[in-house]
């Protein structure tokens, strides 16, 4: 079973040289810590920053330089600031190559729900609906089940939808799965996790074909 850091590390292997990447809040943010050394990617933060760098050194925080999670960050050489409509022009205009998001639920059709739990939590969608409506490639990073053990990989989402048929790949603490027209296709297993464990934790259609390799972390 993978830790949150290991999920991020596995997703970092999907990065390609020259990619512009938007990372959501939570596990996705950690992906920035594991960029392979031989490639260069540029992180976009939808509040208006391209070329986002690591957190600042203590004492060097600038209240005018934050990321979309409102955390103080730095800007790398060659980075740039821009206004919100330009930021979403980059996103809707499909200039961003990869979006990594957290989710509460993902369906076997690639629908995603991650912005609202009726009656319990209403924080808002932020930029998630714009991101999922237009992204070229969306990877979801999340735990396979919720804290009660219920599957988060479903036939149909039960929570309010963020976007339809948009998620291409899911990386969880148990497995890597591609979403195709057939459902969740199991690609890789986390070390020490069996197909049976994934099957039990997946409510949606799970396709298992051939030998499933173990993830390289």
């Amino acid at each position: 079973m993978l830790s949150k850091e290991q999920i991020a590390k596995r997703i970092a292997r999907e990065l390609r040289d020259g990619y512009y990447v938007n990372l959501g809040i939570g596990i996705p943010t950690l992906v920035a810590n594991y960029v392979p050394e031989d490639i260069e990617v540029v992180f976009q933060s939808e509040n208006g920053l391209l070329g986002m760098g690591p957190f600042p050194y203590e004492g060097e925080e600038d209240p005018d330089v934050i990321n979309a999670g409102k955390q103080t960050v730095t800007v790398l050489p060659g980075g740039v600031f821009f206004d919100s409509s330009t930021s979403f022009a980059m996103i809707r205009g499909r200039h961003v190559h990869l979006t990594v998001l957290g989710a509460m639920e993902v369906s076997e059709k690639g629908d995603i729900a991650n912005w609202k739990i009726p009656g319990k939590m209403v924080k808002g969608m932020g930029g998630a609906m714009d991101l999922v409506a237009s992204a070229k490639n969306i990877i979801v990073a999340m735990m396979h089940t919720d804290k009660y053990g219920n599957s988060k990989l479903l036939k149909e989402c039960t929570l309010p939808i963020t976007g339809l048929q948009c998620v291409k790949k899911v990386v969880t603490n148990l497995a890597v799965l591609d979403i195709t027209e057939r459902g969740f296709e199991l690609r890789e297993l986390a070390p020490g996790v069996s197909v049976e464990t994934v099957r039990k934790a997946t409510e949606g259609t799970l396709i298992v074909e051939g030998d499933i390799k173990t993830m390289e972390i």
């Binding site: 690591p54 925080e61 919100s84 979403f88 998630a128 609906m129 237009s134």
Partner: protein, 236 residues
Amino acid sequence: MINKAVRNAVEAIQGLKDGMTVMFGGFGLCGIPENAISAIRSAGIKNLTCISNNAGVDDFGLGLLLQTRQIKKMISSYVGENEEFERQMLSGELEVELIPQGTLAERCRAAGAGIPAFYTPAGYGTEVAVGKEVKVFNGKPHILEYAFEADFAFVKAWKGDTAGNLIYKGTALNFNHVMAMAGKITVAEVEELVPAGALDPNFIHTPGIFVQRIFQGAHYEKRIEQRTVRKKDLVV
């Protein structure tokens, strides 16, 4: 050059009345018009409809106007981090309209650019699309969204001149530029106000034509919402 400078925040909010629709720039607490918010709180103007990406925190930003129940309705994309907000929303005291962040930005830009409405893919198939016109372009469904109308826009810039030209710093640019374009009356507050001609015209973010009033804020707290740092001795 037309001189748009006013003396202070009190003078800058003249004409703002109960029930008006008002834009506030900023993302989280970054780049918010702190001085205008304080002046509006002191003036006790009520029943405001506020268009702002976020709603501040309990004791800062728009949270200050929520404490005093001066806000009737919030139009935002993300409203976490504010307990008083949540309480007022769940009890029905506060109306809330949540819309996708890119749509929020574009509805501001459209308002300033004379575009009455536009189609966007964001929100199709979700609660956001309920009751909205859908049109398919290149095989993909889009929903119709309308430009905002705002009586006032309060924005915050780093530097400005008396002609209303504005320069922002860092990610404090965010919604400030598009909201400056959108307000019927746009009030800009700046950390440093200089005479027209003192700023390099090659590096202006918001041209002064969009700005009706400008003043230098008396005080900026510039509170950090999530202070995240790394230690110097760490090898990164």
